[in-house]
Amino acid sequence: MTEVLIKVGFLAAVALNGAIIFTIMDVKGASWMQRRPGPLHVGLRGFIFPLAEILKFVQKEDIIPTEVDRPVFKWAPAYVMVSCVALFAVVPMSPTLVVADLELGVFFALAISSLGTIGVLTAGWSSANKYSLMGGLRAAGQLIAYELPLILAVVGVVIQAETMSLVGIVEKQIEWGVPFVVGGQIIGFLIFMVAATAEMMRVPFDMPIGESELTMGFMTEYSGIRFLIFYISEYMNMFILCAIASTLFLGGYHVPLLPTEWVNFYGPVVLLTKTAILGFILVAIRWSQPRFREDQLQNLAWKILIPASLVNILVTAVMKVGF
């Protein structure tokens, strides 16, 4: 029982802190690219501002409009958050520092990540607002469309590693000497990152929020702490998907040439560094790109990403059997 509690606490702490670090990174990246001095100087060079942000949302009134479906409306943010936190359970920070090393780790991660869709859809549906509804439906369509390339991109890795356990996948990469992104899964990695960006609903795939069209999409009616939960979950999702991507494709907690017997010490640092690098790329994309249109997004998923990932699986399988 104590062990379970410790694990849950560890999970929540890492995921939440990861989200806060990514928030800082996003805001500082934005102000750096936009030449806004504010977040680079205020409050210990901008590092304690997330605290102010959280305090602001907590003390704000939690407005629940009269027309909404109250229980659904209230629980939707929790749904999104839980699916994000649970996702981190299978990510190994070293061979032993992992909450649950499941046999079917990849399968679990992909299954849990689609749970958040329900939260987003119910948030949009229960808000009794047409903008929210459209945002929720866009989110549902988008998440379903991009779940497929996400899974198919991972299949290549699974074939190559011959295991679905995330620790097993990393061990295989250590055994190979190079991470999978160098060892033949570069296309899979690119597809995974594009699909993951769509899953996170970040620019250029942020139509469910689309503030110039839908005000704030499925979050329009939320305020106070419930909005904060959505907001934090967004960054948590970004942090965790980046962590999964670096585990699957970039060699996880290990970098070549480092001694494997010390992996328990440097593992977490290595993984978080890789995650942060991927996160920074996403930040740079977010603040420099416009938004796609809904139909262009669907075309990209169904006409380009899915065929490409199928070809990727085929090539990987042929290489695996042939050599």
Partner: protein, 398 residues
């Protein structure tokens, strides 16, 4: 009662189930008056089927301030205060056609120097208006960064306008017969003739060079972006015939391929002394409308640079009576404003103020084309098309 399990009835049942069509009802979506992308308080009542827009009805009047009626109880010098609030993004250029109209009725010859200063400030107002468009349009198609660059670059131009007129948005700088002695050029005494502030020419040259650089940067950063091209090319195509039929003017009309510019067609300011191009689009889509405006910024900067080099000396004011009374008569003056054609119809009965003032604003005519253009568009395109028309609600409702 019909038994569904009876084999005899199966055929009729299956047919019935096939012939049932899903009937969907259009959803009425109220866009505005409070919406991030309607540039103020425009309200669009849209009938949407999912993402597809079927019918759009713009509802105006949320910002009606009654300036035309108000002008009837004001004297002529007071009216410039009202009119530069019509299109607040380019405040200075609103004053020009009105003041020119009054001067024509009074048959006053404005000194060349005053005309040049007016021209320079009008072009600066055009540049600042197009900067706002550039930033806001990128924001509407989802790019969050360009608006900060646009606002920073616009600030240089606004600083220059402020150094001459004392106001950033509402200069109230024109006087009948010329321009107001410039602000910031020393103490105001009757004997001193105040002029442009010290260092104005130098600062303007630097700022205009920066404008040309900024336009180049926008062409690369926004215009060269694949996602931006995907969002704007072949979206909201407006043919030249339709545009002319709806009375559309300004950059929107030129983007559709019509080379119509009142700066060359009328003589309200001495534009014929300078060399500049009139950028014209080819397809009349959102991208062209954006492109034409960016190119226009460069041309305006070139005009300002030429005007600075050929600035004539002389007085800032023509001789005018102490009490301004405009003789009986009527006139219509039109001018090329950043948003399009702006015209003032002034009817004078010989009194201190106009008997009637009718303002023809560009934005009002330009958004009349919205229902026509938005028919069958997707919801994100609705925002992209609306943004590309670059209207200001003060200019629509007056």
């Amino acid at each position: 009662m019909v038994n569904a399990l009876d084999p005899q009835n199966i055929n009729s049942f299956s047919e019935a189930s096939v012939s049932v069509e899903i009937e969907t009802e259009d959803m009425t979506l109220n866009i505005g008056p409070q919406h991030p992308s309607t540039h103020g308080v425009l309200r669009l009542v849209a009938k949407v089927d999912g993402e597809k827009v079927h019918d759009v009805k713009p509802v105006l009047g949320y910002m009606h301030r009654g300036y035309e009626k108000l002008a009837e109880v004001r004297t002529y010098p007071q009216i410039t205060t009202l009119v530069n609030r019509i299109d607040w993004v380019a405040g200075f250029s609103n004053e020009i056609p009105f003041i020119t109209g009054a001067e024509r009725l009074m048959e006053i010859e404005v000194p060349e120097r005053a005309k040049h200063i007016r021209l320079i400030l009008t072009e600066m107002a055009r540049i600042s208006s197009h900067f706002v468009f550039n930033g806001a349009y990128a924001l509407e198609v989802g790019a969050l960064t360009p608006i900060f660059y646009a606002m920073e670059d616009r600030e240089r131009v606004l600083d220059l306008i402020e150094s001459v007129t004392g106001g950033r948005f509402h200069p109230n700088f024109n006087r009948i017969g010329g321009v107001k002695p410039a602000a910031g050029a020393g103490p105001t005494t009757k004997k001193d003739i105040q002029d442009l502030p010290a260092g104005f020419y130098r600062d303007t040259k630097v700022a205009m060079q920066k404008v040309i650089e900024a336009a180049d940067q926008f062409q690369n950063l926004i215009g060269g972006n694949e996602v931006f091209k995907k969002r704007t090319k072949n979206v909201g195509v407006l043919t030249a015939e339709t545009a002319e039929a709806f009375g559309v003017s300004g950059p929107i009309l030129r983007a559709s391929g019509v080379k119509s510019d009142l700066r060359t067609q009328t003589d309200y300011l001495p534009y014929d002394q300078f060399e500049y191009d009139i950028p014209v689009g080819e397809n009349g889509d959102c991208y062209d409308r954006w492109d034409v405006r960016v190119k226009e910024m460069v041309e305006s900067a070139k005009i300002v640079l030429q005007a600075i080099d050929s600035m004539p000396s002389g007085p800032l004011q023509a001789k005018v009576p102490k009490v301004i009374k405009v003789p009986k008569g009527r006139t219509y003056v039109r001018a090329e404003n950043p948003k399009g054609e702006m015209g003032y119809y002034i009817v004078s009965d010989g009194g201190l103020g106009p008997y009637r003032l009718k303002v023809r604003t560009a934005s009002f005519s330009n958004i009349s084309i919205l229902p026509n253009m938005l028919e069958g568009a997707l919801l994100p395109d609705l925002i992209a098309i609306m943004g590309s028309l670059d209207f200001v609600l003060g200019d629509v409702d007056r």
